[in-house]
Symmetry: C2
C-alpha cells in the first residue's frame, strides 16, 4: 500500500459551526428517543419561562399545549406571563447556539448554557423544516410577532414574517413560542411530559402550570404558595474557587487600574485588609500594576497566597433552594406519603469555592415509590436548581450518592418498599456531565454532601419504619400463634369439657399481652368488617 | 417586588465561542476527575495517531511518555510515525475546536468530531497556562516546530515560536506532541493510562505502543499482526438513512445540474433505474430541476418514495472491524483465558440506513474478569471503532445490552465468575451520547444487535462452563461423602475387624464410580503433592 502524504489528507480540512455539530449529534442535546425528545423541548421552554419570571419578579403562569400533527409529529406551544423578549433579541435568543443572558453570569438560574431554546429551533428545523413561531409582549402595549430559524453554517438567526401589533393591552407581558417537531412521541410514563411537569410543579410550588395534552385533556398543577421567590442575584466569585486561569481571565478583562483594586472589585469577601494579607504572602506580585499585564506566574502566586489566607465562607444568600416547608407541602400534595422527612443542608463548596446547597427528602408509603408487578420499588426524584432531571440517571451524582448509602442501617429496603428519595442541588454553577443537562457530574464534594442530606432524612423516617415494621412482625407472630391457639382451644375443650370459646378467649388475652402492636395495628388499619373477615380466614390458611 | 422590564434583563445578552463554553464546562470533554483527565489527553492523542496512520497506510508505532512535574501535574508526550501535519494546518488542527478532516466525511475513523486535540490544548492552557509543543515531520526532509494555544474568545489558534529544521531525514515522517497538564493524576487502576493503552493494543493488534510511565518504567505492547489494516474509504450515504433535512442539505450544496443526477452522484446504491423508480412514486418532484432549488416538501416526498422502494443493503465493505482472528489472538495474549468464544456479526443498520458491525467475545477463566476481595466478578470491555471506552459505562448501549442478557441461560454467573465480555461497535458514525465520546447512545437497533452478538459468544462458552461446573459439583460431593467414608471405614473396621484401609478403598471406588469427574478434575488440576496434602486434610475438616 502506498503511503499517503499529509498534504493529501489535509485537503479535507474544514471548520464547522457549533450548530452544524449539534445538527449531526442531536442526541447530545437530549434529542435521542422520541419520548425524550418531546420532553427536552418542553423542558427547555419551561425552564426559560421560569428563569425569566424569576428574574423579572413575576409569579409564573405557564400553559403547555401539545397537539398531535401526525403519527410521530407534535406541535408544542408554551405560553408564559414573563417579561417577554425585546424585538432586537428574539432571533439571537432563540436561534443562535451559545448566546444569551445566562452563560457568563454568576447567578443561580435553571439555564446556564445559552443552548436550550436554540437547540429546539434546530430540532424543529431538521425534523419538520419549519421555523419557530414567536409572539413577545414586553409590556409596552405592543406585541412583536415573528418566525425564527437558524443558518446552521454560520450559527446565525434568520428572522422572518415579522409584524408588530398594537392590540396588546398596555400591561400585557409574556412570551408565546410554538414549534412543530417530528421524531417525537407523547407518552404517559415516568419519562413523559406529564411527569416532567408534575415534578416541575413539585419543585416550584409558586408556579402554576397547565398542560393541554394531545387528547385535549387539561391538567392544572395549582400553585401551593403565593409568594414570588426572591430574585436571583448575580454574585462575585469567591477567591477560593478560582484557578490561576480564572484570575488571569478576570485580570485581562478588568477595567480596574491596579491589581489591588481589581481584586477588591472583582471577587467576593475581598477587602483592603485581605489584599494587604495577600501582599504579605505573594511577594512576587506587583499589586500596583495594571491587571491587564498580569502574567501566569503572578496569577499562580496569587492562587497560592489565597489558599494560605483565611477567608469568610462564600455568601450563600444568593442561592435560593426550594425550601423545607415548600418541599413538605409539595410532597404532601403530590405523593401524599404516610411519612416523610425533609432536610435542608447548610451551604457547602465544591472545586474550592463554588457554593451549593443540598435539599433532601425521604418519603415513605402512600403515593411514594413506584408500583411494580411484584409490589413496590424505591425511586429517586432528582432536581438541579429546581429543574427535574428525568434522564441519564446512571451518570448522575445524585444516583451515585443514593446508591452508596447503606439503607439497611435505616431499616429501609430501597429496592422493595414504597420509598421516594428527593434531592435538589442548587448552585450558581451546576457541573452538568453533558450538554443535555440531565445529570450532575460526579464531583466528590457534591456526592458526599448529597449522601449526608439523604442520610439525615432517612434517619427521620427510620423510627417510623421500625415501628411499622415491629408492628408488622407482632402482627405476623400473633397470627401464627393464634392459628395454633384455635386448635389448642378445641383440643383442650375436648379433654377438659370447658367451653372452647372461653379457653380461646383466655389464650387470646395471653398472646395479645405479648404482642400488643399486633392488635393495635389490626384495629387501626382495617375497617371492622374486613378485619374480622381476615381474622376469620386465619384458621384455614 | 417591582417587575423588571425585559430591556433591563437583556442588557446582559452576549454571544460565546465554543472554546469558552468548554473552558467553563471541561467535564463535558472528559476533564472531570484527575485520573480521567490524564486518560482523556492520552486517548485524544493516541486515537488521532491511529487514525492518521490508518489513513496514510502506515503500520503505527506510538510512544507515550508521562513525566511527573508536580504533585498533580504531568507532562504527556506522544510520538508517532504517522504522516505528520502540514505546516499550514498545525494551528487549526490542534487549537481550533470543531475543525479537522473528520467531522464531515462519511468514513470510519476513531475521531469524528474535530474537538479532541484542541480540547487538550485548552485543558493544558487553563491548568498550566502553557502552550502545546509540536514537531511535525511530513516526509519532505524538513521538520516544522512550533507551539500552539487557543484564543478562546474567538476560537482561533495562536501559533508561536515556530522554526523549521532541515535535519529530518528525507523519509522521516511523524508527529510529536507534548503538553503540560495540571489537575491530573497517574494511577495504575482499571481507569488509568496503562489500562487504556493495554486495551488499545488489544483492539488494534497491528499497533505497537510503548508507555514510559512517571517512574521511568517502559512497557511495550508488541503488535501481534504485521499487516497494515485496510485504509478507511469515504463512502456515500445510503438513501434509507436520510432524513428530509439531510436530502435538502445535500441538494443545496450540490454541484449537479439536475435532481436526478444529484441523487445518483450523491448517494450509495442509487442507479439510473432507481431514480426512474423514484420518479414513478414521487410525482410532485421535478427531477430535472436544479437541486439547489429543492423545497422541504419535495425532499419529504423523496424520503417517502425512498421508503417505498427496494434497496440493496448498505455496502459495509468500508467498515473495518477488528476481525475474529485478531480478537482471538489479542485475548490470548492479554487475558490468556481458559476458554473463549468470539463472534463477528453481519452488518446491520440503525436510524434507517447507517451501517454498523458488532463484534463480541466472551472469555472465561485465566486472566478474564476482575479479581475482588471475595473472588471474581465479570467485566465488560467496551470499544467503539476499536477505541477503548473506560468511562460513563452507565449510559452506554454496550452496558445496557450486557445487563439485559439472561446470563443464567448460559450457566454464567456474570457477577461472581471470572468472565470478560468484549464488544466492539464499528461504523462510519458512532452515535456517542456525549461530547466526551465515552458511551454509545442507547439506540434500540444497536442494543439489540450487541445482545445478539454477546449471546452468540455466550453460547460458545456455555458448554465449557457447564462441564466445568458439573465437575466442581462432583468434586464437592465426592469430598463431602469421603469425609463420612473415612469415619465409616474406621467404625466398620472396629465392628467387623476387617482392615480399615480395605474398607476405605472399597468405599472410595464406590463413590468414584458415581462422581467420576471429581477425581479427573482433582488429578488434572492439582500437582501430585498438593493434591495428596489436600485429600489428607479432608478428614479433619
Amino acid at each position: 500500500m502506498e503511503v499517503l502524504h499529509a498534504d493529501e489528507i489535509f485537503k479535507e480540512f474544514k471548520e464547522h459551526s457549533i450548530a452544524e455539530f449539534f445538527k449531526k449529534n442531536r442526541q447530545m442535546l437530549g434529542y435521542s428517543s422520541p419520548v425524550r425528545s418531546l420532553v427536552t423541548v418542553v423542558h427547555e421552554y419551561v425552564t426559560n419561562s421560569l428563569d425569566a419570571c424569576e428574574e423579572a419578579g413575576i409569579l409564573p403562569e405557564i400553559t403547555v399545549t401539545i397537539t398531535k400533527l401526525d403519527e410521530n409529529a407534535f406541535r408544542v406551544g408554551v405560553e408564559d406571563n414573563g417579561p417577554g423578549i425585546p424585538k432586537a433579541y428574539v432571533g439571537k435568543s432563540l436561534a443562535t447556539i451559545l448566546a444569551g443572558t445566562k452563560f457568563h453570569r454568576y447567578m443561580q438560574q435553571r439555564g446556564q448554557q445559552g443552548i436550550g431554546a436554540a437547540g429546539c429551533t434546530l430540532f424543529s428545523q431538521i425534523t419538520t423544516g419549519k421555523p419557530i413561531k414567536v409572539v413577545s409582549y414586553t409590556g409596552k402595549g405592543k406585541s412583536f410577532i415573528c418566525e425564527v430559524s437558524i443558518d446552521t453554517v454560520r450559527n446565525k438567526p434568520i428572522v422572518s414574517n415579522t409584524s408588530e401589533s398594537e392590540t396588546a393591552g398596555d400591561g400585557k407581558r409574556g412570551l408565546y413560542i410554538e414549534g412543530d417537531f417530528a421524531d417525537v412521541k407523547y407518552e404517559n410514563s415516568d419519562h413523559g411530559v406529564y411527569e416532567y411537569l408534575k415534578r416541575t410543579a413539585l419543585s416550584n410550588p409558586h408556579t402554576q402550570i397547565k398542560l393541554v395534552d394531545p387528547e385535549g385533556k387539561e391538567t392544572v398543577f395549582l400553585r401551593s404558595i403565593d409568594t414570588i421567590p426572591e430574585r436571583p442575584k448575580p454574585t462575585k466569585p469567591h477567591p477560593l474557587g478560582l484557578s490561576t486561569n480564572d484570575i488571569l481571565d478576570f485580570a485581562h478583562a478588568s477595567q480596574s487600574r491596579k491589581i489591588s483594586s481589581f481584586l477588591i472589585e472583582t471577587f467576593a469577601r475581598t477587602s483592603q485588609n485581605k489584599v494587604n494579607d495577600l501582599r504579605n504572602i505573594a511577594k512576587g506580585v506587583d499589586f500596583d500594576k495594571d491587571p491587564k499585564s498580569m502574567a501566569w506566574a503572578e496569577a499562580e502566586e496569587l492562587v497560592k497566597a489565597i489558599k494560605e489566607t483565611q477567608w469568610i465562607a462564600p455568601d450563600a444568600s444568593y442561592i435560593i433552594p426550594i425550601g423545607k416547608e415548600q418541599i413538605e407541602k409539595a410532597l404532601k400534595n403530590i405523593l401524599a406519603p404516610d411519612f416523610m422527612s425533609v432536610t435542608k443542608r447548610k451551604p457547602q463548596v465544591f472545586r474550592g469555592g463554588v457554593p451549593f446547597v443540598v435539599e433532601a427528602a425521604v418519603a415513605f408509603g402512600g403515593g411514594a415509590g413506584k408500583k411494580t408487578a411484584e409490589g413496590y420499588e424505591g425511586n429517586v426524584l432528582r432536581f438541579a436548581n429546581k429543574v427535574p432531571l428525568l434522564f441519564d440517571s446512571g451518570s448522575c451524582a445524585i444516583t451515585e450518592a443514593v446508591k452508596d448509602i447503606d439503607w439497611k442501617r435505616y431499616k429501609i429496603d430501597i429496592e422493595n418498599q414504597p420509598v421516594s428519595v428527593l434531592v435538589n442541588v442548587s448552585s450558581v454553577y451546576i457541573p452538568y456531565s453533558g450538554v443535555g443537562k440531565e445529570a450532575i457530574a460526579q464531583e466528590d464534594e457534591i456526592i458526599d454532601e448529597i449522601k449526608l442530606g439523604v442520610m439525615e432524612a432517612a434517619r427521620g423516617v427510620q423510627r417510623y419504619i421500625s415501628e411499622r415494621t415491629s408492628a408488622n412482625i407482632d402482627k405476623s407472630k400473633y397470627r401464627t400463634i393464634m392459628r395454633y391457639a384455635n386448635q389448642l382451644a378445641k383440643d383442650l375443650s375436648g379433654l377438659t369439657g370447658i367451653d372452647e370459646k372461653e379457653i380461646r378467649g383466655d389464650l387470646e388475652k395471653l398472646v395479645t399481652k405479648h404482642y400488643p402492636k399486633a392488635l393495635d395495628k389490626e384495629e387501626q388499619e382495617e375497617p371492622e368488617g374486613k378485619g374480622k373477615a381476615e381474622t376469620g380466614d386465619e384458621g384455614v390458611q
